[in-house]
Each structure stands twice: as structure tokens, then as C-alpha cells.
């Protein structure tokens, strides 16, 4: 074998090895690249799935909230229609015919008027007032004032522009309305008052923000410690408790009475 032939064989051999090594390295690099691309893709896909999941959850929550609010509106409309076309028209018709009969039905007239007044206030609690206590008190004045005027009682109206209470839905609005309906009816029937003062303003209680409502009169007062419950105080207390509100009943002989209700701006978990 000549030297040149040996070199040629060796050269070919080395070239073949080099080519093999080169090929293997490239294959490996390609493989590694492919793996890393796949990993990146997997990661991106994972992120997209998470994002889509979050979006789905958000839209599902929004849908559910909308459903709840639609259901509330529909239910309110249904009850309104029921009251209006059914009980309401019936009461008005019964009242009209009872009034026609004259004296014999005077107790029926009183009872029917009372029922109609109660029904109107229940309707008011269903109206959307944006959780505004001032507007609730205003509705009560709107409904009660014509009868009060007949009894010679005037309102002294001191109602500030107060913020809405986000938690004040229809059932809670009815509690507020009934508490003050009860106290005003008590004043009209027992206190011999001439003025009912209604105050409403923002007030802190133990450094919590809230809205305070006070209804007071210049009548003869009553015994606050009396347990007879003749003034419907039991009812008022139960409603205040359901509201998570603070209630204060004050009165002095010959020095009028005062019902104060403090409502929190935000209701704690314990009240929910």
C-alpha cells in the first residue's frame, strides 16, 4: 500500500466519522429544538386554557347575576300585576260599595281603608328606589299625609340627601317602612300631637358610617318601660333586629316620643 492510498483511506474514514458525528449532533439539536418548541407550545396552550377558563367563569358569573336580577324584576312585576289587578281593584271596589251603604258599614270602611293603606306601602317597598332611605320616608309621607292632615297633624320635614344603602332590597325596605308606619300610626292614635318631625342624615355609630332616621312628636308621650306592647313595640324591635339596625325608643310624660333607627352603610357578614 502506498502512503497516498493510506491517506486517502484514512481521510475517507475520518470524513465518514466526522459526517456521522455532525449528523448526530444536528439530529440531536433538531430534536432538542423540537422538544423546546413543543414545550413552549404546551406552555402557551396551557396559558390560553387558563385564560379561557377564567373568561368562561367570569361570563358564567355575569350570566348568573343577570339571571338573578332578571328573576327579581320579573317576580316584582308579577307581584305588582297580581296586587294591582287582583287585590287592589277588589279593595277599591269593596270600599266604594261599603261607602255607598252609609253608616251601617262604617267599621268595614275603616278596615278596608286600613288594608288599602297597608297594601300601598307594600307596593312602595317593591319600587326600585336604589336603596335610598330618604325616598322610602318620602313615599311614607306621600301615602300618610292626607290622613294626617285630617287629624290636624303636620310634618316637620328634615330629610338630608343621604347615600344609598347597597344592601337595602325590597324585604328590608318593607321593614323600614313598617317600623315608621307603626310609629306614625301610634302617634296619630295615642299621642294627641300636632307635629311629627322626621329627620334623616348621615351619622357614625361606633365609627361605622350609616344613616340615622328619627321620628319624634310633641304629644303627651307614653311609658317606654310598659311591657303591654300596646304600641306595637315588639314588632318594631323584631324588624330592627332583622335589619341589623340599632333602635332607640324614647319618651317622657308630656314631652313627646322619639323613635330612632340607625342603619349601617355596609352590613357585616353576621347580618347577611
Amino acid at each position: 500500500m502506498t502512503t497516498s492510498a493510506l491517506i486517502a483511506v484514512l481521510g475517507t474514514f475520518v470524513a465518514a466519522i466526522l459526517a456521522a458525528v455532525f449528523w448526530t449532533v444536528r439530529q440531536r439539536r433538531n430534536l432538542l429544538q423540537k422538544i423546546s418548541v413543543t414545550e413552549e407550545q404546551n406552555h402557551a396552550l396551557g396559558e390560553r386554557i387558563e385564560k379561557t377558563k377564567a373568561r368562561l367563569l367570569a361570563s358564567e358569573n355575569a350570566r348568573r347575576n343577570l339571571e338573578v336580577s332578571n328573576a327579581v324584576t320579573m317576580e316584582r312585576d308579577r307581584i305588582m300585576r297580581e296586587i294591582h289587578d287582583g287585590i287592589g281593584s277588589g279593595l277599591v271596589a269593596a270600599l266604594a260599595s261599603a261607602e255607598k251603604q252609609g253608616k251601617e258599614s262604617s267599621t268595614a270602611v275603616v278596615a278596608l281603608k286600613g288594608a288599602l293603606a297597608d297594601l300601598k306601602i307594600a307596593v312602595d317597598s317593591l319600587e326600585p328606589v336604589e336603596g335610598n332611605v330618604a325616598t322610602l320616608l318620602a313615599s311614607l309621607r306621600y301615602r300618610l299625609e292626607p290622613d294626617l292632615r285630617k287629624s290636624g297633624i303636620a310634618f316637620d320635614w328634615k330629610v338630608d340627601d343621604v347615600p344609598s344603602l347597597p344592601w337595602l332590597d325590597a324585604p328590608n325596605a318593607l321593614h323600614v317602612l313598617r317600623i315608621f308606619q307603626e310609629s306614625i300610626v301610634n302617634i296619630v292614635s295615642h299621642a294627641e300631637a300636632t307635629i311629627i318631625r322626621v329627620e334623616c342624615r348621615v351619622e357614625l355609630s361606633q365609627s361605622r358610617p350609616g344613616v340615622v332616621v328619627a321620628v319624634s312628636d310633641n304629644g303627651k308621650g307614653y311609658d317606654v318601660t310598659s311591657k303591654s306592647g300596646g304600641h306595637g313595640t315588639k314588632n318594631i324591635k323584631a324588624r330592627a333586629e332583622a335589619l341589623g339596625a340599632q333602635l332607640k325608643l324614647e319618651s317622657e310624660p308630656n314631652n313627646g316620643s322619639r323613635t330612632t333607627l340607625w342603619l349601617p352603610l355596609i352590613r357585616g357578614r353576621s347580618n347577611v
Partner: protein
Amino acid sequence: MAATDQDIVRIAVIEDDQAALDRVTSALAVDPGLVIASIARNVADGRKLIEAGGYDVMLCDLGLPDGSGITLIRQSAKLHPKSDVIVITIFAEQSKVLDSIKAGARGFLLKDDRFDQCAEGIREIRRGGSPISPSIARQLLKEFQPHEARQELSEPLSKRESEVLNLLARGFSFIEIGDLLKISRSTVATYVKNIYQKLEVNSRSEAVFEASSLGIIDMPHQGR
């Protein structure tokens, strides 16, 4: 002032319930100037009544046997803009009253145990004032609020009108508001009527805006 208590007011009544009709008739008898000119008991007859015209005030019930009184209110407001449409309702629920006002009504009367005072209510509206309840005032404040999703209101509230609405929503009477703002009671009542008119105009232009953006109607081009 356009009308005095001596003026004869011709009244059209659209009401299906006979008992309620009887109550209107006897309630209006206290004021000899208030004359019932025509009566209809359903939407079909109501349409004919409105076409015939000849009334200054239309009292309209909403729940009629063959449809809603709202369509009649719209028709009357269009054909006889000088006549006042008054809705008669038991509770004055805000949704019904607001829909009526958007259709062109100028007030409501409560069809309840105080219906016997409706003669005074009609005179008040003829004098240029309109009744309002606190919850309706609260809802109106919301309706007139600037809203992102819609075009500018064509008739926004003036500062004074917002003040009046805010006080009404808090339960102050026309007289108390007059004292607080140093204006007369009748001016307060006129503000309410203006606010009702603006609500009607806005809801009409909003309906046009919505229809044109949906491609339902063509907006007239300028100069055509």
C-alpha cells in the same frame, strides 16, 4: 295663566270598569266647569273617541280589556297636543306612570279612596302643574343621568330642575320646595310638567336613535 277655575273643561274618559266610571262622574260633579264630553270602555272605541276629538282633558285607564291605554295616550298626544292626558291608576307604580309620561301623559290621578278629590287634580294640571310621587322623582333623576352607552340627551335637565327633583325624591312638598328655593309653589309644579315634557322628548329621540342605529329607519339627510 292659561286657564282659570271658571273655564269649562271638556273631559274624555277611557275606563272599562263601571264602578270606577261612576266614581269619576260623581267626583267631577262638585265642579260644574268640568264636563264629561265622551266615554270609551276599550282601546278600539278609544281610538274613535280620540279621532273625533273635542276634549281638553283625557282621563285614561291603562289596563283595558283589548289592550294597553299607552297606545291611546300616544295617539292623543300626537293628534291633540294641547289636550292634557291624565292616567288614572290605583297605586301610581313608577314603571307604569313613567311609560305613560314617555308616551305623552302629563300626570296621574290615584283611583283610590281619595278619588273624590280628582276634580282639584284636574284643575291643577290645567293650570300648568303636574303631580309626582317621590319614587317617580327618584327614578327620573336616574333617567336623566348621563349614560355612557347612549348618545347625549337631547333635553338634559337644568340645574334648577335637578334641584327640584332631588327635593321631591326626598319627600319635600311643593310649598316647602318653593320656600327652600325662593320660588312660588306654582313654579315648582310647572318645573315638574317641564321635566315630564323633556322625558317624553328624550324617549322619542332615543327611540329614533336606536332605530336608526339598527338600520330600521333612515335618518333624513340635511337639505333634503
